[in-house]
Amino acid sequence: MLAKKNKEFFELMETIGSIRPLLAILASALVIPLIILSRGSPNLRELWTMVGAVLKFMIVFSMLPMVLAGTQIECTLAQVLPGFALQLRVDALGMLFALVSSFLWIITSLYSIGYMRGLQEHDQTRYYSFFALSLSATVGVAFSANLLTLYLFYELLTLSTYPLVTHHQDQEARSSGRKYLFFILGTSIGMILPAMLFIAHKTGTLDFTSQGIVAGRISGQATSFLVLLFVFGFAKAAVMPFHAWLPAAMVAPTPVSALLHAVAVVKVGVFSVARMITGIFGTGWLDDLGLSTLICGLAALTIIVSSLIALSADGLKRRLAFSTIGQLSYIILGVALLSKSGMVGGLLHIGMHAFGKITLFFCAGAIFVATGVTNVSQMVGIGKRMPLTMSAFFIGALSVIGLPPCGGFISKWHLVLGTVEAGQFLMLGILLVSSLLNAAYFLPIVYRAFFCSPSESMFEGPMAEAPTWCLLPPLLTALLSMVLFFYPQPFLRLARLGVQAITGG
């Protein structure tokens, strides 16, 4: 019955071939030579970065109307293996992610300029080049039509972010970089690659389809094993215990943490997991096997544990990192609930959390640039010195916690609805508890920044904000977080379309 309905739905759907997805990916990669060539003049170099960013967003955005109209855009690059092509396909899910990441790249680029110049960082050319490369990889993951292509861009992302994470080239960066590679490259080679080959061998295809390709071709036991391999193997999703790289990677310059570890890298992880659940395993098959509970359980565990760790973390970026780990699992949880609202919520959270979390990271960076402070315990009274920054921080925090009037509320609302729909009341409880925990580790920072006795305050004197280019981006993203509450399109529409494509309703 369901399958039939699905089929009808797909007949309505159109697929057109176009080179535009490829252009969207290449837009940032192609500016790299220009960036390197103009390494002598910083202004020109950063102009190229901005050109790449804007161009990329425009191309992605130009495909939005088609996707909203229910069209898929396809582009086959090369038939690299018999039966397995490097293929790009833009659907609602990918569009959602690409839109978020390419838009936030523009803002991050602006922020980078302020941050990197403010701190007089070294090797900025390398920094901008690899930044552009990693964005290419991110959009590539978003637009992948099959697991092989996704794997390619996933690995590209890992490698292109390594120099960014270890940008400082000191001992700490070195050990963090090691951890980063160990977890991410190790899992992708050790777990994803064999799992992918196993599926390819058993099914003869790796394409993402709405029903999944595994159903009926691989036994239930093997499927559960594969699910575990994928959920843990995409270590960028930081499901515990494969999360340790994320706090370590916070040694990176803040813009890197902001874009990559709030938006690109980690979201690539959860996006990949979501793709596996919807496109490879198929929701129906997972439901039949009852594996939803397994994934939900893993996610729930990660949510609670990471929130508890975040409570006790003193470094602001470290706290944000653990918060990110928890929020990522929301997305996995939402998708794994397999109920319509839950999935909408999960997918929406990719976007909503991105805006909220990037604001928080921007603020953390701005604080560091302006005062050099990195620990929460040293931020008492900072609201008086940097009121604008801390206001933005407050809004970002609200969004991440999931309170109105911020975008985060919308996604969390859907998640809650989803748990009810799926009848998973335990998960509902966990969502609520974790929201409380979120509030518990964010709000005190804000509270003590503004409301403290003068004797406690560590900052005084007149208002001294961070440089303009560090200040504007967080304000902008904070504003956008609020806007998204009132006007959650096109993300909501995209998420709904995506879920529709999967469940066929």
Partner: protein, 506 residues
Amino acid sequence: MGGMTEHLPAIIVAVPLLAALIVTVVWWFNDRLCFPLSVAAGLVVCGASANLFQKVLTQGVIEYRLGGWPPPVGIVFRVDHLNGLILVVVTLVAFLNLVASRRSAEKEFRDKVGAFYALFLLFITGLFGILITGDAFNLFVLLEIASLTGYALIGIGSGRASLSGLNYLLMGTIGASLYLFGVGILYVLTGSLNMVDIAGILPNLWPSSAIVLAFLLCMGGLFVKMALFPLHAWLPNAYTHAPSVVSSLVAPLTTKVMIYAMMRVALTVFTFDFAFNQIAVRGPILWLAILAIVGGSLMALSQRRLKKMLAYIVVAEVGYMVGGFWLGNKAGMSGAVLHIINDAVMTLCVFLAAAAITIRTGDDRLSSLRGMFKRMPLTMAVMVLGGLSLIGVPPTCGFFSKWYLISGGIEAGHLGFVMALIISSLVNVVLFFRCFEIGYFEPFMRGGEPHSAPVEPGYGAPTVQEAPVEMLFALLTTALLLLLLGLFSGQIVTRVIHQALPAVLG
């Protein structure tokens, strides 16, 4: 010239041989001419092999009778999809290496440049000959010419090189003699030396332990030559102590060509049915391959010299190809053949990069990589690409051959092989990123003092001092090849390699 194309196979061996002789003569009068002459010969051979491959693709198997005698009376060249493909890659790799060798050859063999180029050309002549010959005994002769020149080229290095060279010579001679012995037994039993002819006669004699022994001797001899674990002992030292320009020639080519010879002997002489169904050697050889992969990788971990580490990686890679071939299914064999060409390019890439670094630092310890990303950015970029390819990261070519090998392992249900491949990939990650870390994090040292303040590696860093132009050209071309082979691997496999595999596999 239309008439000449039918003589292409002869040209492929005759031209480098002639060039070697002419270089020897010319060198006594003017040593400037050696390099251009060699390069010209390399170009001709590259063109000829590409042309020949094109012909094979359109016309199928090409047979060339030497002296006009039909087989089995005379010797024939037999070029099919398998050796046509490998020939193209081997000629290309040899050519690139020839181009890259210029500066370091002039530096290291100042007054023997002519002899170096002549030996170089004779070496590649031997390899080309092995690739195209259709005669079991002729293969031995060409094997010896390639080996003999290889011993000399390796032994010329400083320090322990001569000892490694002599060890290689002793082991190599045992290998070649075992092979010769195996061919002798085959000759006693069949009365023929032509590969195809022997294959036609052997099935009548099948339940014979003498054939099994002949098979084991041939394989054993080739295993020694290709350094399959546990017969690999000669390889790491030989490749480490050889002059770097020589190791970048010998390392990518020798083992690959020997693996080709193994395939040729197993498939064409003994036939697929015999090698895989009649005798039970598949299992043990597979386990040897697994040991080679794991052992080579682990040994590589404990090395502190770049070239020695790479040499142990070569040992592991031999395991890949041997294992893939002896999986005996279509995916595994395609993977093995694909890996021969990919690995030739990958190994060339990393060994050339190592040579470039050795030229600039005069040292191949891992610590000499310090600050190399600043000092030789392009070389290191190429090395990163080569490393990624050896790790097996898409879209470099190494990923695709690994794909076939692993799926072959899954298809055969041989979990040990799959696990070994994955472990070795992970170890390669550690190996290469250890190198990259040193190059990236540790500042360039000169005379024990950090050349630039470690706090600010960006400023006052040592000036860029890239590899010589010729070498850089070769490096960049190799890097390009790595990507191209990756992107076109689908076509290579379906259009070429599948034609080359025995028909039994479908």
